[in-house]
Amino acid sequence: MTAVENPAPRQEEAQTYRPSTLQRFLPFIIAAAVPFILGSTTGDLNFWWKASITVVVLAVVARLAWKWTPRGELTHREDMRLWRTPSDRSWAALTMFGLLVLPFILASDFTPPMGFPWATWFAVVNLVLIFAMGAAAFNLLVGYSGQISLAHVAFLALGSIVGGIVGVQWSGGNMWYALPAAAVAGAVVGAISGLPALRLKHLYLLLATFGFHFVMMLVWREYLQEYFGFVGIRFKGENSPRIASWLHWLPGIDPDQNGEFVITGQFRWYWVLMPITVLSILFMVNVVRTREGRAFAAVRDRDVSASLLGINVARSKLFAFALSSAIVSMSGVLASFYIGSRGEDSFNVQTVLNYAIIIVVGGFSSIQGAIFGSAFFWFLPEWFKWAREELWFVRDIDFLSDYPSEIDLAIKGFLVVVILMFKPDGLAGLWRDFKSWFSRALARSNP
């Protein structure tokens, strides 16, 4: 009897981590930001307050990054964490720090060199927050769960309808009731609009959802004409959201003359939009990591195999639609109240195109990409405007200043084509490439 040849058991390669590149440099980055922040607010009473925030955040970041550095092998639990590597954790901390400091920087009267637009940026940042939320939800549906849909603008309209009914007609500018109501309505209507997905795929699903878009547009126009006439719904002025009087003890809430705290102006809006956007994006990122989220990916890759693995395909698809639509509807409410009025042509086919541009430029099927994409989408016109007015080699080209918005549009379309042809992961992919290039370059220079 011959001996059975056993192959040598495969040795699992132990994963060990060195401190990451960013982790090494993070203190320096933050230290470099400190004089900038402080310099921009000299003369401000909040000087010492901000200085101490900076120092505390710096200390906390360094401490946590050190504490959470995994040494030795990763357990499964560690491997499934939201921020797996020290680098991830450092980036998360840096982003949080940036988001907390950003409004103070933008509200200061700092004037950057060469007339770079600063005052208009606050509005742009707030729009980016709203759009990032909607685009991330769209990406969750289209990228992660592979259900092609063009109905997301319909859900923005649904958000506006719910905002109009609950927030304006029932409770006179109470956005806080409208938000959960829009989430519920979005989930229910989203699950209904997802029903064709049980039978149709790819192209046909795209067409069916596009049909849903037109039906929703009809509902929107009917609703508008029935209750508001042709001017559209007014979400600002007396309909602006406000903080209830029993919450006025909260820190940072300083009621106006008439004893009310109305959410108006970019600074206050930022503190409403930023937490909602960050929480909903974290929520989506977490959903992707759960069993449901992995089921999305399995259904996207091959629904028949997914059903053989014990995944309820119908449930998974409908859940993806409901989740995405709920969040898009909420962003629709936020957009309505932030922008202040929604009319007949607020939701046209160009809006559908805009969302497509955002997710393509940012990076298809990546939630991070949705954030990059919406930032790019809103900052591009600002940068372009600045370049037309200030940059000496652009300023003199009459052609550019004659057709500003058209050239914006052309650049966006051109970028979509170029990115899809040459770099399908978009800005998020470029960012990943840059990070890996940077760490490799660093590893080469000091091995």
Binding site: I148, Y204, A208, L218, I407, A410, G413
Partner: protein, 302 residues
């Protein structure tokens, strides 16, 4: 009431007028749907930019036939030649690199092309609307109290001729055979010595020429030529789907059916019901018979 229904009229002449208007609209839809079908049939690409292609055709028709004041036949010839060149440009410049990419990426790239065309037309022609074309005979005659425009009959004839032409082309010519082979199975066709690249280029050129014809015809019946006429591309989707996205003859039947339904919805329920009704019809057809009335069924292997 939210969903107020208009008053249904039993007046036969009104209904006849709606029917004729619907057939005229349907003929236009058929032209556009034919463009979708040509591209989808052989390259499996859903071309969302077809409305913009058509707008390009209409504006070029303005340039060549009105501004340059060329002879009608010479102008049409130049128009179609330019559109053909654009089709080759779209294929060799962009779509060629996208072969084998994911379905949605290709849909999005057509949206990108649409955006570029829209922006360029705005830059070069400006936002002002132009009067519609008036090169085809403008008169009309009456049948049973309903008006029929000569233009509609011409459009109808042109569409039928195009469908017939493509039918003969696909059935009896060598290149048509190649196109059908590539559409059926690109790898097997390539193994038999057919160059798919060339076939795709021909397809895009043909679709662009159809868009040129469509722009020329639609330019005669639209209210005015401006940037909003691209919407005809989206409005023709139900027609293409109802007829079946892989069927040439289906596009003409689908166009007529959807055009008539839309026109009746328009007349009896109001303008705002036009698109929802058309897309609902499409929706029902998709649920009952996803490949449309005459579409090719694809088997899916696990």
């Amino acid at each position: 009431m939210l969903l107020a229904f208009g008053n249904f009229t039993a007046d036969p002449s009104v209904n006849l007028q709606l029917l004729i208007g619907g057939l005229a609209l349907g003929a236009i839809y058929a032209v556009v749907a034919l463009g979708f079908v040509l591209v989808y049939k052989s390259t499996d690409v859903l071309n969302l930019a077809h409305g913009e292609f058509l707008m390009l055709g209409a504006y070029f028709a303005l340039t060549f036939l009105i501004s340059e004041n060329l002879n009608f036949f010479l102008g049409v010839f130049v128009l179609l030649l330019v559109m053909l060149a654009f089709g080759l440009l779209v294929h060799y410049g962009i779509m060629r690199r996208m072969v084998g990419q994911g379905f949605f990426a290709i849909v999005l790239i057509t949206l990108g092309i649409a955006t570029i065309i829209r922006a360029l037309l705005l830059i070069f022609y400006g936002p002002t609307e132009r009067a519609r074309l008036d090169l085809l005979p403008q008169g009309s005659f009456e049948i049973g109290g309903a008006t029929v425009r000569y233009v509609d009959i011409i459009i109808f004839g042109v569409v039928a001729a195009c469908v017939l032409l493509f039918f003969v082309f696909f059935k009896y010519t060598r290149l048509g055979l190649h196109m059908r082979a590539v559409a059926d199975d690109i790898e097997a066709a390539a193994a038999m010595g057919i160059d798919p690249d060339k076939v795709y280029a021909m397809t895009w050129a043909a679709a662009m020429v159809m868009a040129g014809v469509g722009g020329l015809l639609f330019g005669h019946v639209t209210g005015a030529i401006d940037r909003s006429i691209e919407a005809i591309g989206l409005r023709a989707f139900p027609a293409a789907v109802v007829g079946g996205l892989t069927s040439l003859g289906g596009s003409i039947v689908g166009g007529l059916v959807v055009g008539v339904i839309e026109q009746f919805a328009n007349g009896h329920l109001g303008t705002k019901w036009r698109e929802p009704v058309a897309f609902s019809v499409m929706f029902v057809v998709l649920l009952v018979r996803p490949t449309g009335l005459w579409g090719r069924k694809d088997l899916e292997r696990v």
